[in-house]
């Protein structure tokens, strides 16, 4: 990192109190994000990737606690008071959620939902805020934006609603956009459209993105850097190109092999990772991926591997280190 990072996570930890004990969803995750950079966080369901975003936004479920540091524009998001956090969330940090069908208020006109943040945080008048909202809806290519702004969410399709969410998130021109699987709930045919639109607008505004997804194709197309998460821990991280070219961690390799590719149509069968992702429970002393790893060594179950430099990436694996 040459420039001052926009966001710097240090040992971010998220725990959930459950009836059967404390479950660690995110375990000492650290990474930096430069201004304007697009970072992809990939991993299976339950790997803790969404919880990283929720913890940054102060939106964890009430039984969740967060530890570590997340310095964003010089202040630690995790220790802000509610008022200060509201200020940050309203002006420089935005989030797009997974399910556009339920993420908009069904009782409020779309335009008003966009405008309310501007009125509150930027002190715009109602009419000025509405005008900006319409302009933004136009930029996310909502046809006839001025008329559509007076409509209610149920009068929009899923793809349209996610565009509205994107417009709402980028309206305040945030420095960082957190996108939690923004297209998972959408038709495959419009997923790419919506993502490209989001990335394009963010680039124009100069907004950095953390994109949480399990779609490696999306990561390859949009992201500058990738973090691979498993069991709440970083398995591997590095520039997208290097990681896709030569994944060092067996889990990252498995993920890539499990992704269909158009240019290798002759592969007889799509690769799979045997077993199921671990869901909560006590932390293992060793590598969380050890039980499913095809290349595990005796040491893997005992000692947690640290992130060490490989070809072009950082990976947490004993195997490569011993070679």
């Amino acid at each position: 990192m040459t420039a001052e990072p926009l966001l710097s996570l240090r040992g971010l930890t998220v725990d959930f109190r459950l009836p059967q004990g404390v479950m660690r969803a995110v375990d000492r995750v650290s990474f930096d994000l430069a201004p304007g950079e697009v970072l992809g966080i990939v991993g299976e369901s339950g790997s803790g990737k969404s919880q990283i975003l929720f913890s940054l936004m102060g939106l964890l479920a009430s039984n969740g606690t967060v530890g570590g540091q997340a310095v964003f524009q010089g202040q630690d998001l995790l220790s802000l008071r509610p008022k200060e956090l509201d200020r940050v969330r309203g002006t420089s940090l935005s989030m797009i959620f997974q399910d556009p069908m339920t993420s908009l208020n069904p009782y409020m006109r779309v335009g008003d939902q966009l405008a309310e943040g501007l009125i509150l945080h930027k002190g715009l008048s109602r009419s000025a805020a509405r005008a900006e909202a319409v302009a933004m809806l136009d930029r996310v290519r909502i046809p006839d934006a001025a008329a559509r702004a007076r409509r209610y969410p149920h009068e929009f399709s899923g793809g349209m609603r996610q565009r509205v969410m994107i417009a709402m998130a980028l309206l305040v021109r945030p420095a960082l956009l957190l996108a939690d699987e923004p297209t998972t709930a959408l038709d495959v045919t419009i997923q790419a459209q919506v993502l490209d639109l989001m990335a394009e607008l963010a680039r124009e505004i100069g907004t950095a993105i953390i994109l949480v997804t399990h779609d490696l194709g999306v990561v390859a197309r949009l992201c500058d850097r990738v973090v691979v998460l498993y069991g709440g821990r970083i398995m591997e991280q590095g520039p997208a190109e290097a990681l896709f070219e030569a994944p060092a961690h067996p889990y990252a390799r498995g993920l890539l092999q499990a992704t269909p590719r158009l240019d290798e149509a002759l592969t007889p069968r799509l690769g799979t990772i045997p077993g199921t992702p671990r869901s909560g429970g006590a932390m293992l002393p060793g590598c969380p991926f050890e039980p499913r790893c095809p290349l595990r060594l005796p040491v893997c179950a005992q000692v947690q591997p640290a992130l060490t430099a490989r070809g072009g990436t950082l990976a947490a694996c004993h195997l490569e280190a011993e070679r």
Binding site: R87, V88, G90, F97, L104, Y107, M108, L120, H154, M168
Partner: protein, 307 residues
């Protein structure tokens, strides 16, 4: 909008017609008649009385006569309260029931919704438990227990309020209104609480928080409307029931309302009074249901579809 109201009124009219028909015939199917419980009277006198009320005619003819009267806004004479028409009885009692019922609805809504909101926001904290306790007491303790208790404490011991009757203006209203609203406070506060908790979990509320709107604004602009919709749906029919009086309240507090007719008229086989009271309740129920639907349509744009 006007077409919607027109259609609902037309439907309501049909419902009332069905209600009149059904009540009329079902009542005559029940054994006994208006004068079968009276003191022994000679067959000649009974026949005369029956004839005076047209009870000697075939049932279909009685029905036609009743409907004809209804169309002229004539609900007929009461067979029990001689010299009074059903309209007289209803018009003399309704204002008392209406006044007490109206204020009970107002108190129950305000207090119930407030308690529910506090309970949802301070979940599993002392305030929530207190609201819950009021709820349990309100639902579990019957009016004929809490009513006399209030009379003893506020009427006799403290002497603040009259024990009953209707002669002291607003002071006569306080106790019946309070006691009548208690079970409704309980029900509304439980309803509001659970609906609030559900709404607070909605994704769109999370979106509002993510916009940094702050707790108060999130609550006012995004949570309340969705949370109150079920309460409004409950209040419509409940209002019709509450403002037509309660026999318990009117008996305990000696209020000359119409609530007691609901039970007495049926026991006395006072055919015309039963019909009148049923019709009144049915009409109010339909009226408040239409009102509720309009209000909910105003609150929830998704319900406006298909109008």
């Amino acid at each position: 909008m006007l077409r919607f109201i027109g259609k609902r009124l037309w439907d309501g009219g049909l419902t009332l017609a069905a209600l009149v028909t059904l009540t009329f015939f079902v009542m005559r199917l029940a054994p006994g008649g208006p004068f079968s419980r009276s003191r022994k009277i000679s067959p000649e006198v009974l026949a005369n009385i029956q004839a005076a009320f047209h009870l000697d005619e075939p049932v279909w003819k009685q029905f036609a006569r009743y409907v004809w009267g209804l169309l002229h806004l004539d609900l007929g004479p009461s067979t029990r309260f001689r010299d009074y028409s059903v309209s007289d009885l209803i018009l003399s009692g309704l204002p008392y029931s209406l006044t007490i019922g109206f204020w009970a609805v107002v108190v129950a809504s305000l207090v119930g919704v407030s308690l529910g909101i506090i309970g949802a926001l301070r979940r599993n904290q002392p305030a929530d438990y207190l609201a819950g306790l009021i709820g349990v007491v309100g639902i579990a303790v019957p009016i004929f227990v809490i009513g006399p208790l209030c009379q003893l404490v506020f009427g006799l011991k403290l002497g603040w309020l009259p024990v009953g009757g209707s002669g002291q203006g607003w002071r006569s209203l306080v106790l019946p209104v309070l006691v009548l609203s208690l079970p409704n406070i309980a029900y509304i506060s439980r309803l509001t609480r659970s609906s609030m908790i559900e709404t607070l979990r909605e994704n769109y509320v999370r979106t509002a928080r993510a916009k940094g709107l702050g707790g108060g604004r999130v609550l006012r602009a995004h949570v309340l409307r969705g949370a109150l919709l079920p309460v409004v749906a409950y209040l419509g029919p409940a209002t019709a029931a509450i403002i037509t009086g309660s026999i318990l309240i009117e008996t305990v507090f000696a209020v000359p309302g119409i609530g007691r007719h609901f039970v007495d008229a049926a026991l006395n086989r006072d055919y015309p009074l039963v019909m009148g009271i049923t019709l009144l309740y049915g009409a109010l129920l339909i009226f408040f249901n239409i009102g509720t639907d309009l209000l909910r349509g105003w609150m929830d744009p998704r319900l406006r579809h298909g109008r």
